[in-house]
Symmetry: C2
Subunit: 345 residues, 2 copies
DNA sequence: CTGTTAGCGCGTTCAT
DNA sequence: ATGAACGCGCTAACAG
């Protein structure tokens, strides 16, 4: 926090505080020469306006809160970076509020929380209807939802059903017995993401029109270890060759690793299809559903900034359409069953 | 954000704003009867003071920032929960700022960031000397360091060297060839935690006084997958029976899992010692070094609150001493080498 | 003990 | 185009 005030800047630039304020807020009616004087003074002093004072006086602090389940999951890291980049370009600051678990979520039901003192909020993934009374956040400020569809707020989300459908269709064409790995139920019941339900529903529908037999689903935790455990059980029970839809790339990665450990050849003995198209999926040659995370994050930030600039229209939905990226993990030639049986052991 | 102001409360309670302010700030000289009147009015109106206004007027917003590398690592989740609990009891709010990576850290070199507008900061793990100019955060507010020792700020940390030493001594008594798994260097060079260096140094020194042979160290990423990879290489190369010091419980978990997969008996063929004593370590019967994470988090919050209450003494160090918890993972009877060689295959 | 008043730093009039 | 004055919601100092 700079120790200077707008007064100091005004004195140094030999102008009134009003003029400095205008420069600060990009007000058009300032002569170029005086604007430059002011900017120079600001630069010299290393001055930065006090966001709290701005909030008090002008009703805005140029800060937005981002609420999400947790970070350090690849999806959120990418999303947050994209959001922050966009906000940064518009001279907005960002604070992250990881909700982590039920206890913290309940704290955030209280509108006094600092999180709600921002100019606006971006809420990720959580189903507001299940967490907050009336399905609304306790705030008058604009809210944008990401990774979750809504009729009450602007929302940015992927058509996860369609993504799953693409995979189902594709699995149908592969013609092999099919399995799936999806997200298990959250014991705390807070992180019930519609996302994975939709992907699975789409997959089921996509495969239904083929004559492929869907054997069963293996629910697992959304991390490497969870994927490995489910993969072990799956590989113990599965018949080969087969197709497996892993509803997140991280799970597909676990599965491919575990399959390799057992001497199975991915693409031939087991066809693996992921979801996300994370950067490393290309290296792993994983067939997967592409989702434009950065674009979605940026769009969410833009929508919020539009609201903050006074846009008053009805809630908007930014639905993104995924597409399938075909890679080696589904491209190997399938061998006669007998040979596979040997390779399997 | 409540739409009421301190004026509304004053009117409703038929007192002056000064009195309301005194009640809000626990000022002693308020008659009990009027205090109750005011509290009733506050209750009726659902009033909550505006933190920005408090900051402007009184210089404090009752908010602290917590900066850390990332959450959703068990250590930080537990730490953050403990910190928030203590702050909550003192009517302070908390905002978390995950630094995530180099790009975000550099943004946070700028003192204008909202993170620095809090009354105080708790900084976790990062070595300030390497990240910030002069080894100081760009703020005049009080700072407390956690998981990192410092001469400039109050700091709360574990004696990691001693913890490692305990393990080294213990491994010496076990009398078996010893290996270790520690944190690999961070490619971005930002998350170079002294913590793991200290644990390893202590381990080396602790084992040095015995006649046990230390074979080699396996560096790995601080997550399950990283542990599995290192464990595979270690188990490929190791001689059994042996002792392995995993410098974090999560790595020990990976190792035990991988060892089990290979038919090795933990505690007999391979003695595993972890570090952290995470809640699940007891279930896994992992011998490990206990670290009181919640106590440390609470202590950090307390130290910061003391500074915010005006304490002005020199930087204090709250060093915590770990202890070894012995469980089954090191307790099996070692068999003759020949038998082990068979079991190994 | 309590009411009144002067700022805190800034945005926003309203004249000029 | 620009300076001066007012007010945002609150705390703190000053009277009583």
């Amino acid at each position: 926090m700079s120790k200077h005030t707008i007064q100091d800047v005004a004195r140094r630039a030999r102008v009134g505080v009003g003029t400095v304020s205008r420069v600060l807020n990009n007000h058009p009616s300032v002569r170029k020469s005086t604007r430059d004087k002011v900017l120079a003074a600001i630069e010299d002093l290393g001055y930065a306006p006090n966001p709290h004072a701005r909030r008090i006086a002008g009703g805005r602090s140029y800060t937005v809160s981002v609420m999400l389940p947790m970070v350090s999951v690849e999806f959120y890291v990418r999303l947050v970076n994209a959001i922050e980049e966009c906000l940064d370009e518009n001279r907005f600051d960002m604070a992250i509020f990881p909700l982590l678990g039920r206890a913290r979520i309940e704290r955030y039901l209280n509108s006094n929380r600092i999180a709600y003192q921002a100019d606006g909020i971006i809420m990720c993934t959580y189903d507001l209807g299940k967490l907050f009374p009336d399905g609304a956040l306790p705030t008058e400020h604009p809210v944008v939802l990401v990774d979750n569809e809504s009729d009450h707020y602007d929302s940015v989300f992927l058509d996860n059903y369609y993504g799953g459908y693409l995979v189902g269709e594709y699995a149908g064409r592969l013609g092999l017995p099919a399995y799936s790995m999806t997200l298990e139920d959250d014991p705390e019941g807070v992180f019930v993401s519609q996302v994975f339900v939709d992907r699975k529903r789409g997959f089921d529908d996509g495969i239904a029109s083929s004559n492929v037999r869907f054997v069963r689903d293996y629910p697992c935790g959304l991390h490497h270890q969870g994927g490995v455990q489910a993969a072990q059980q799956l590989l113990d029970e599965a018949v080969f060759p087969c197709t497996v839809f892993a509803a997140a790339d991280v799970l597909a990665g676990s599965l491919m690793e575990e399959a390799g450990r057992r001497g199975l050849v991915v693409g031939r003995d087991i066809k693996v299809i992921g979801f996300d198209d994370q950067p490393w999926s290309q290296d792993m040659k994983l067939t997967t559903v592409h989702q434009p995370i950065e674009v979605m994050g940026r769009r969410a930030a833009e929508m919020l900034l539009e609201r903050l600039s006074g846009y008053e229209g009805p809630p908007r939905k930014a639905r993104f359409t995924p597409h399938l990226v075909e890679r080696d993990s589904t491209l190997g030639e399938v061998l006669p069953a007998k040979y596979v049986a040997i390779a399997e052991r």
